[in-house]
């Protein structure tokens, strides 16, 4: 900004007639900057208008609704913090938040760890034909709607689905069950679907990070006698810190905000064992018509997402 001002003034001095006073020139310059400033602000207006109308306003309304008891039709009554108090007493809500936190293990930790392991192993031939061709395949789960992933896996995990067939095939017929229909396995089964979706993206992001590492680092380590494990912890892991941060952030948001997969595969059941806040907001707001209650949960839900994501951002951005 500063550079530009001096530069323009310098050049204008050449072009300006000798009679123009210094003062007048500065005034003209300021006027032009002001006009450009208004033009520039004008360019932001359309984006800001859409953002304000469909994000900021509803956001403010969510907070407002959360202090009222309202069924969406008749008049609403102000109830203060009552909705929040009821949230803390509802085992359903607390359970849904617990489920969302548990989903982080499957949606985030599993794909990031498996992705790290695979990427570190195939790092050395990351540019081979096989590795390049694998990109197309591994990106498929990212391209299809989550709804489709949910439908596929509901079928795979059904009592006569492929997963159980394979288990029977290797003599583990005893453990087969309707994975999504059993209260003890439904949440991990939903987690498997999320892990399947995220795994390819995490692996490729981490691999891309690893190919940027200077190969001489590895050569030096090998000469010093470091094995593959030492190499991984001493060189690979620290170098892809930023990529790990990205993977963890994206997948944790996906876990906490899970909706599509759960809606399709279990609808939150059986017996609320896979209920998550994203789905409960939907049920409260549009089925039991407890708009205030749904909004209070939405506020808590937002706070939860920020409370989990912001520290991770800080941790990985600072170097």
């Amino acid at each position: 900004m500063q550079m530009r001002t001096t530069d323009t003034t310098g050049r204008r001095e050449v072009a300006a007639p000798a009679s123009t006073s210094h003062e007048a020139r500065r005034r003209a310059l300021r006027a032009r900057r002001l006009r450009r400033g208004w033009v520039a602000l004008g360019l932001v207006v359309p984006a800001a208008a859409f953002y304000a109308a469909f994000v900021l306003r509803p956001l403010a309304l969510t907070v407002q609704y959360s202090f009222y008891k309202w069924n969406g039709v008749t008049a609403s009554t102000f109830v203060g913090l009552d909705n929040y108090r009821r949230l803390t007493q509802s085992s359903e809500t607390l359970g849904s938040i617990g489920n969302a936190l548990q989903l982080i293990i499957y949606f985030s930790f599993v794909p990031v760890l498996l992705g790290l392991l695979t990427a570190a192993t195939i790092r050395k031939f990351a540019t081979s034909r096989l590795a390049l061709a694998s990109r197309t395949v591994l990106f498929l789960p990212q391209v299809i709607p989550l709804v489709a992933a949910g439908i596929m896996w509901t079928w795979l995990l059904a009592s006569d689905g492929l997963v159980n067939e394979l288990l029977r095939g290797i003599g583990l017929g005893g453990v087969t069950r309707a994975w999504l229909g059993d209260t003890s396995t439904a949440l991990p089964a939903v987690g498997v679907i999320g892990a399947w979706v995220a795994l390819g993206l995490c692996m490729l992001l981490l691999l891309a990070g690893m190919t940027k590492i200077d190969p001489s680092l590895y050569e030096a380590a090998r000469i010093d006698g470091a094995g593959a494990v030492r190499e991984f912890f001493a060189i690979t892991l620290p170098s892809v810190r930023q990529e790990i941060g990205v993977c963890v952030t994206v997948t944790i948001i996906a876990a906490l905000a899970a909706f599509d997969i759960v809606y399709i595969s279990t609808q939150g059941g059986p017996a609320n064992s896979t209920l998550v806040p994203g789905l409960e907001i939907y049920y409260l707001g549009f089925f039991s018509r407890q708009v205030g209650q749904a909004s209070a949960l939405a506020v808590v839900f937002m706070a939860l997402v920020l409370a989990v994501v912001l520290p991770i951002q800080r941790l990985t951005r600072e170097d």
Partner: protein
Amino acid sequence: MIVSRRETWLGRVLLIILMVVTIVPFISLFITALHKPGTYPSGLSLPETPYWSNFVDAFTAADMGALLWSSALIEVGVVPVALLIATLAGFSLGHLRPPGHRAIFLAFVIGLTLPFQAVIVPLYYQMRDVGLLNTRWAIILPLIGLYMPFAVMWMRAHFVNMPEDLSEAARIDGANTWKLFARIHLPLSTPALSSLGILLFLWTWNQFLLAVVLVDDPTKRTMAGALGAFQGQWGTDIPLLCAGSLLILTPTLLVFLAFQRQFVSALMQGALKG
């Protein structure tokens, strides 16, 4: 570089396992879709005679023509507008930097981690009050707004890296702000714009929550929303459901295979910047 044989083989095997795990659900979906309608086929068993007619039945049952048309209309309503206004805002905040640009940008960034569920309840009543419920506008308008944090951040990141000298030279040649934007900066932004366009296209096509909440009629929804309705209606006829799912997946898969390289780089960059 010293690469031991064993490690290479281990890597190959791992990569192939990963690919198999990724692809098997698709194959299973395809094989199941060929079974006799109304049956409950098990695992990977092949049908005795493939019922290709399932695809035709699913096409009619799901009213696929109407669904494709609806998704196309929604895409046309969302993507160009979102791209245009995000580019204008990104150009202003990243390059012109008017007074207050930091605060404005910060206001956009706040929305970045916002899950759509956080605003879905008020959005419903907002749409009801203006009488847009059950129309495609109920999906189009909010989506444009909800994309703004990411889209503006994306375009700003692009314009911040454009050299100042470029605008300097254009200004000296007498270009006003509009010419500077349209003649100089817009042509140079094509890569950033096309990546963003791909991402917005994909997210719109796959948008589920807004479609389910704001539009009841599946033929006015996005593809993902329509698939949800299709599952609700035909969930008991597994082969038909699988055939329908595959049909609904096909357009995305075709577009993906045609623009693979752009998709992969857009998704990777998208994740990194998000």
